[in-house]
């Protein structure tokens, strides 16, 4: 069983919410579910859509065609005509019948009197979306009780949940009785051990930060990173986490640096524009060797670009941001599970090496929901590196003491027998400003001595992961959320007896040279990336001399479809 459903309507019609509720019902039935949204940057009147891809096998991405179109308005009915599968159905209200009738040869027309039902039940017009998702569940003969549990748990007020459940049941019954016999795809819950959770990349990053012991979060709203702020503002206070929305991204990162200097784990998150404002302070974190974590959810640029659409175009920017040279971690998780665990890793690495660590995701991963097994938090390790609290036992404390690894013992203010002098100017071991030439060499070499140890540490952390046929002649490469469509493409190709490999880069800085050489040498390489220029190809060449042979690129703000990758592989191997 594999099904793809799109729910569409005007902005303000509760498209995302109802899509989420239906998807959550499928997750509770043990299915593998991926849900993603498509919306413009406005509050009312534009077209919103939520796409659900669900399967009884493990899936990782959206599907570009649809088995069910749930149309909350007339526009939705006609908008996806070219993306209907052979046995598709369209769920719509009688008021939009004239649009639907034109498609009677392309899809099963499932007419549900949503507006009438809402009136009969004395509910608000917006609640027609509950009738609609009920109908979608009924059409596939899914278990209503599971849908009901999802609805009830998704509304804070029980009475609102009840009425929505009742509306869903009305839609469910009509679809089940009058239409389900004519619709081929049946969805049934699976018998499965263990609970699944359904969450976005943003939520997973926020949870990872909480689990890592972050105590201070400051961020300025910017799509698509704002949901991290919302999640932490809502849940943080229960866990003793201070969440602040300051006056700008500049204030946010400088606050994070202040909090980290004082000894707490701290993070900010933003998108490319906000990070542009943060770049000067990123250098402050590097020069003062203050460990901070910055999460960046990319969107389409340059400038304001398309705020609610996806891109991977900030890779080179993030790798090189801020003046001067300094080592940094840039980590790009590929799915929600990696968002959680790699964020924890980022906090540990930032403190262990006293460098900035950047989590680099994009709108597609940040705002898409994925089902995954509930996170195992029993073995989380927190490593604060050379942190000194309480009392410094040495003779005379030097914040920037030159050591073998380049990492200096890090006391925090209030440590007895230690005065902690941090400095944005080049400085001596004590932290006093100095422009002495010999001192400058000593300190720059100290900071860069860390790099060797950062690479050694990274190499132990699966910085790049290989999927698929180990002997494949053709190896796809990509980073971050590209993992999602590529893994689904690999499955499609496998079913056609075409074997390729995929090397997924999670670390971009330091660059996992050993892994790249091991898996890519003497192979044909195909880059998959949401950019115009193919940035990873340049990075790969710079670090290894290897050249990318083929590219699958997309820069219209939409995520790369698995089928787009499959087509390109086809083209190449012929």
């Amino acid at each position: 069983m594999d099904i793809s459903i799109i729910i569409g309507g005007e902005a303000g019609a509760g498209v995302m919410r109802s899509g989420y509720i239906l998807a959550r019902a499928l997750v509770r039935g043990g299915l593998s579910v991926f849900g993603t949204n498509d919306y413009p940057s406005l509050i009312r009147g534009g077209h919103n859509a939520y796409m659900i891809h669900a399967s009884d096998k493990r899936i990782h991405a959206h599907r570009e065609n649809f088995d069910i179109v749930v149309a909350l308005n007339a526009e939705t009915i006609t908008r996806y005509v070219d993306q209907l599968t052979e046995n598709a159905a369209i769920i719509y209200d009688p008021k939009d019948r004239s649009y639907a009738e034109k498609l009677s040869d392309k899809a099963l027309l499932v007419e549900i009197p949503m507006m009438d039902i809402v009136k009969e039940e004395k509910a608000k017009p917006v609640m027609m979306n509950s009738v609609a998702i009920g109908a979608a569940a009924g059409l596939t003969e899914y278990d209503y009780e599971i849908l009901k549990s999802s609805i009830l748990d998704s509304f804070p007020k029980p009475e609102v949940g009840e009425i929505n459940a009742r509306l869903a049941k009305r839609g469910y019954d009509i679809a089940l009785e009058e239409y389900s016999s004519k619709f081929k795809i049946k969805v049934a819950p699976l018998e499965k051990d263990g609970k699944q959770i359904y969450l976005t990349g943003n939520e997973a990053v926020a949870l990872g930060a909480m689990q890592a012991g972050m105590k201070f979060y400051a961020a300025y709203p910017m799509t698509p990173a704002s949901p991290i702020l919302h999640f932490l503002a809502l849940h943080g206070p229960k866990y003793g986490i201070v969440v602040v929305q300051p006056e700008s991204e500049i204030a946010a990162i400088n606050m994070v640096i202040g909090a980290a200097y004082a000894g707490v784990r701290a993070m900010t998150a933003t998108s490319g524009g906000g990070f542009s404002l943060m770049t000067e302070a990123l250098g402050l974190a590097a020069m003062s060797e203050t460990p901070i974590v910055v999460a960046i959810a990319q969107r389409v640029g340059p400038s304001t670009g398309m705020p609610t659409y996806t891109a991977q175009t900030d890779l080179m920017f993030v790798l090189n941001a801020s003046q001067g040279e300094f080592p940094r971690f840039v980590i790009a998780p590929g799915d929600v599970k990696e968002c959680f665990y790699r964020t924890i890793e980022a906090f540990n690495l930032a403190e262990k090496f006293q460098v900035p660590a950047i989590i680099l995701i994009d709108k597609y991963l940040a705002e898409s929901h994925m089902s995954t097994e509930i996170f195992d938090t029993s073995n989380i390790k927190i490593d604060r590196g050379e942190l000194i609290t309480g009392e410094y036992k040495g003779k005379e404390y030097r914040r920037y003491e030159v050591t073998e690894t380049g990492v200096s013992p890090r006391a925090i203010p209030s440590t007895r027998n230690a005065i902690v002098k941090a400095n944005s100017s080049e400085h001596t071991e004590y932290g006093y400003a100095s422009s002495n030439a010999l001192n400058a060499v000593k300190m720059q070499e100290k900071r860069f001595r860390k790099l060797k140890y950062m690479i050694m540490e990274m190499d132990k952390l699966n910085p790049a992961i290989y999927y698929g046929d180990p002997q494949a002649e053709l190896v796809l490469i990509g980073w971050g959320s590209i993992k999602c469509p590529v893994l689904d493409a690999l499955e499609i190709l496998k079913s056609m007896d075409i074997s390729v490999g995929f090397l997924h880069f999670i670390y971009l800085s330091p660059f996992p040279v050993k892994y790249a050489l091991k898996y890519l040498k003497d192979r044909k390489i195909m880059l998959v990336e949401n950019t115009y220029t193919g940035q990873l190809a340049n990075l790969l060449k710079m670090h290894t001399g290897l050249t990318v042979d083929y590219k699958v690129l997309r820069y219209d703000g939409r995520p790369i479809n698995p089928s787009q990758i499959v087509e390109k592989v086809f083209e190449v191997i012929r």
């Binding site: 949870l207 201070v242 202040g258 909090a259 004082a262 707490v264 701290a266 927190i382 007895r416 006093y432």
Partner: protein
């Protein structure tokens, strides 16, 4: 108890002889000694400019940050560990030009820190350009035909930002400045001090201010009336008031933050149990 000598450091001082920064540094040290603060519990955050080197010259924790960003860094240090005494130092370029955007917010949040602006009305370290407080008409390296903008009024500005402690000091009146810094440290909330600071190299105002400044305290000034404080803020001519224009008690930022723990953040256990939260996502 720490002594003045123990607050000295080994760093070589590079301020010009006679620089107003010396008086501000000495006043700060005296305030720390007289209030009996432990050096390890004091943090000085400095911006960019001549004043920025102050951290090198005082044996307490210090963070020399980037231009204009003293307030966000200092605010978060205080939030992370409210047991620390956090004192931000900024130049007039830091505070009123590039970093002005932070002032209203630190003030309205009432972050419990001290903010001392070394207001010498010139960019000293970059060799004498105009700043937002340079008087109209003055010839500087970037305004060779004279300044053609009106200066900012820092006291009126801080009052408008709802700072809960607003004062002006003069680097030529050490005892009074020491008094102001002590009061500012004792104040629970955002304490703003604009210090008239002569720059002996690019804009020497010692004599100008000596002839004109007078202490508000000597005239029985009531610092609880905001409207009167505003009027006083515009007194600038033959007589220039120094002292505490306005002070009021209000809840601090930390008092207002939902869920701030019962101890400083820095003392909190990093391990938390997320089971309940994860279950909400099933």
């Amino acid at each position: 108890m720490v002594t003045m000598n123990q607050l000295n450091t080994k760093a070589r001082n590079t301020w010009c002889p006679g620089c107003g920064n010396f008086a501000i540094l000495t006043a700060l040290k005296k305030a720390i000694v007289e209030l009996d603060l432990k050096p390890e519990n004091v943090v000085v955050v400095t911006g960019i400019g001549c004043h920025g080197k102050l951290g090198d010259y005082i044996n307490v924790n210090s963070f020399h940050v980037i231009h204009g960003r003293v307030l966000p860094v200092a605010s978060a240090i205080k939030l992370a560990n409210y047991e620390l005494t956090v004192i931000g130092h900024a130049g007039d370029g830091d505070a009123y030009a590039i970093g002005l955007g932070h002032l209203p917010h630190a003030a309205r949040r009432n972050v419990d820190i001290v903010y001392i602006v070394h207001n010498n009305m010139t960019f000293g370290l970059t060799t004498g350009q105009v700043t937002p407080t340079t008087p109209r008409g003055l010839k500087t390296r970037s305004t060779p035909y004279g300044v053609f903008e009106d200066p900012i009024n820092p006291i009126a500005l801080a009052l408008a930002c709802d700072a809960t402690f607003v004062a002006r000091g003069f680097a030529g009146d050490l005892n009074h400045l020491t008094y102001l810094i002590k009061e500012a440290i004792k104040h629970r909330g955002f304490a703003f001090i604009d210090v008239l600071q002569p720059c002996v190299t690019f804009y020497n105002t010692y004599q100008f201010f000596r002839e004109r400044t007078y202490r508000l305290e000597d005239e029985g000034w009531d610092p609880t009336n905001k409207v009167e404080a505003f009027k006083k803020a515009y007194e600038w001519g033959d007589r220039i008031p120094i002292g505490i224009f306005y002070r009021i008690e209000k809840p601090t930022f930390r008092d207002s933050i939902p869920g701030y723990p019962k101890q400083p953040l820095v003392k909190e256990d990093l391990k938390i149990d997320l089971t309940d939260l994860l279950n909400l996502l099933t």
